[in-house]
């Protein structure tokens, strides 16, 4: 039963890899081209990746910082000492 699920999943993924565009030849890149061209003016930073991380998708980064904070608070809760 587990093997069946595994094989089905494998076939599924292989099909996806077969269907996707060849490596390095993009289907579409409108959003990224806009970002590459305008990042310097809009965010005043040379590193486009940083301007995506902190400006265009800054809200994601906030969420991600929250994830880290949550996990650490969680680890502290789980591992805290409880007097028995």
């Amino acid at each position: 039963m587990k093997w069946l699920a595994f094989v089905v999943f494998a076939a599924f993924l292989l099909f996806a890899a077969y269907e996707i565009h060849p490596f390095g030849e993009l289907d579409d890149s409108r959003m990224d081209d806009y970002i590459i061209e305008n990042a310097q003016n809009e965010t005043a930073a040379n590193n486009v990746v940083t301007s995506v991380v902190f400006d265009y998708r800054g809200y994601d980064t906030l969420g991600e910082a929250t994830v880290l904070f949550t996990a650490i608070a969680g680890a502290l809760v789980v591992l805290r000492r409880v007097k028995k």
Partner: protein
């Protein structure tokens, strides 16, 4: 500080305020516990008010857009670009409807926890994590961006896991949390993979823009399968339901109530993907049929597994699975009927039933879990055989339990009846068998809760206990108030709250229009 300004910015504020509070709580906790408790409750109340304030406007027919970090929050698409570049929050009827559920349940659970969670070292973290769960749920419900959905799904998952394992000195709590975390992180990775597949083809992450560009290639179908599988796993429907009882039964009761709302956030994401992202051009009857089957199986398996349980919270957890089945059934029937033009009015009606059931279920199942927590607080056991005669001493808890039990079984004056009736009516149009099974499950639910009531509250007085502290009663009262309110005015609720939500889901064109067209 005028109301227009507040209204425009409220989508961002709804996320930012609890987040700020979550970062502040550990610092305040160092100085005073009393101040921390007051702070948390005030934040939760502000949150509830903000959500209701925004909901009032959204249900009036406005879809709110908020572009994060742009010069103008209402233009999602920059002037020179053809597509949305930044993250867009998109608040429509369905999103804010779920927001109301999350905020209300968190408020009730927060008040309840003041006395319920034993005062010990980690309580500052407890509230931090509670606020973060709220952030995660609201973030998922208000966002209009696929990757952002993934990020907040993870916030929600991790915060939930940590709180399930809150009583980590009991082995089973850690174990339930581990199971939950494994399932959730696999589900989250499925979502991420699906997002990547969509991104690969369209170079877009915004849901509305994706919905307008989508071409139904094979990759899109793969992505759909992955997304549906992931969210079905997360919402505790049948093929992947086994984590639900383990996780629900070991968490502190207030957290279990929130977990119900949290798995509904995943349910919301499932509906959002099916309706708004893939939408009308897909073969609706197939997806509808799949949801109906998931729903029926969940209903039936959940209730039959619930009957023999001895552990009160495991029993309720199995009922939660069965109730999730009702929601899937309602929305599945809705999808199925919407595909057939001659039945489309019934389709909307079925969806209203399913969606109304979401809010009802969050309220009464939350209430039931809170009452089970109240029993646990006094008796320190979850085993039904060791209870009995509590009706003599814990009168309020007994009353709240009766209200919750009658509501879940669908007895007329309470809210469960209103939503179940809508589902029965519409399901009858598809096949009378569906309605009959649904009613049968309802009867079994009633039987099961009669059994619980009998063994916990009736009989001679064997335990010498007092009523639970006031703050716990207040938390339960909040949910009871909502249940009775919805039970007394179901017509008003369906017309003014549920119908806009169902309409928002069914109307994909408006969803796209709000971001891309305007």
């Amino acid at each position: 500080m005028n109301t227009d300004w507040l209204l425009q910015h409220s989508p961002a504020l709804i996320i930012a305020i609890p987040l700020l509070a979550a970062f502040l709580t550990p610092i305040i906790d160092r100085f005073s516990r009393r101040a921390r408790n007051a702070f948390v409750v005030i934040v939760l109340v502000i949150e509830e008010i903000l959500v209701l304030f925004l909901a009032h406007d959204v249900f009036g027919g406005n879809t709110h857009i908020y572009t994060m970090g742009a010069a103008d929050p209402f233009s999602a698409v920059p002037a020179q670009a053809a597509v949305p570049v930044r993250i867009v929050l998109q608040v429509d009827g369905m999103g804010i409807f779920m927001g109301i559920i999350s905020a209300t349940v968190c408020l009730a659970a927060g008040i309840y926890s003041l006395a319920f969670v034993e005062e010990e070292k980690g309580k500052g973290k407890f509230y931090t994590l509670l606020l973060l769960i709220l952030v995660g749920m609201l973030g998922m419900e208000l966002t209009g961006d696929m990757f952002n959905l993934f990020v907040f799904l993870e916030v929600l998952t991790i915060a939930c896991t940590a709180l399930i394992a809150y009583r980590s000195h009991h082995g089973d709590a850690v174990e339930g949390a581990f199971k939950f975390l494994i399932i959730s992180s696999i589900a989250a990775l499925f979502v991420l993979f699906a997002v990547a597949l969509l991104y690969a083809q369209y170079d877009l992450l915004n849901m509305a823009a994706l919905a307008s560009a989508i071409k139904y290639t094979n990759l899109d179908k793969i992505a759909l399968v992955l997304l549906v599988a992931a969210f079905v796993m997360k919402c505790g429907s049948v093929p992947m339901h086994f984590w639900t009882p383990d996780a629900y039964s070991v968490a502190p009761a207030s957290i279990t109530a929130i977990l119900v709302a949290a798995s509904q956030a995943s349910l919301y994401a499932l509906f959002r993907i099916c309706f708004s992202l893939y939408g009308v051009t897909l073969n609706l009857a197939t997806i509808g049929g799949a949801l109906i089957i998931f729903g029926l199986l969940s209903m039936f398996v959940g209730v039959t597994m619930a009957l023999p349980q001895k552990d009160i919270k495991r029993l309720m957890a199995y009922h939660a699975i069965s109730q999730t089945g009702y929601m899937l059934l309602g929305v599945g029937v809705g999808l199925y009927l919407l595909a057939k033009p001659e039945f489309s009015t019934y389709g909307i009606k079925a969806m209203e039933g399913g969606i109304f059931h979401i809010i009802n279920h969050a309220m009464y199942k939350g209430l039931l879990f809170l009452t089970s927590g109240a029993i646990f607080y006094r008796l320190k056991t979850r085993n039904l055989n060791e209870m009995g005669g509590l009706g003599h001493s814990m009168k309020w808890t007994a009353i709240f339990f009766i209200i919750g039990a009658l509501a879940i079984a669908g007895i007329p004056p309470f809210n469960g009846f209103a939503s179940k009736l809508l589902i029965y009516e519409a399901a009858y149009k598809v096949s009378p068998i569906l309605s009959i099974i649904a009613m049968l499950v309802s009867i079994l639910t009633l039987a099961s809760f009669v059994k619980v009531f009998h063994s916990a509250f009736m009989g001679p007085k064997i335990h010498d206990v007092e009523e639970v502290p006031k703050s716990m009663l207040a938390g339960m009262a909040v949910l009871t108030f909502v249940i009775i309110l919805f039970g007394l005015f179901p017509g008003w609720v369906v017309g003014n709250i549920v119908h806009p939500a169902a309409q928002a889901l069914a109307d994909q064109a408006a969803y796209i229009q709000a971001v891309v067209g305007g």
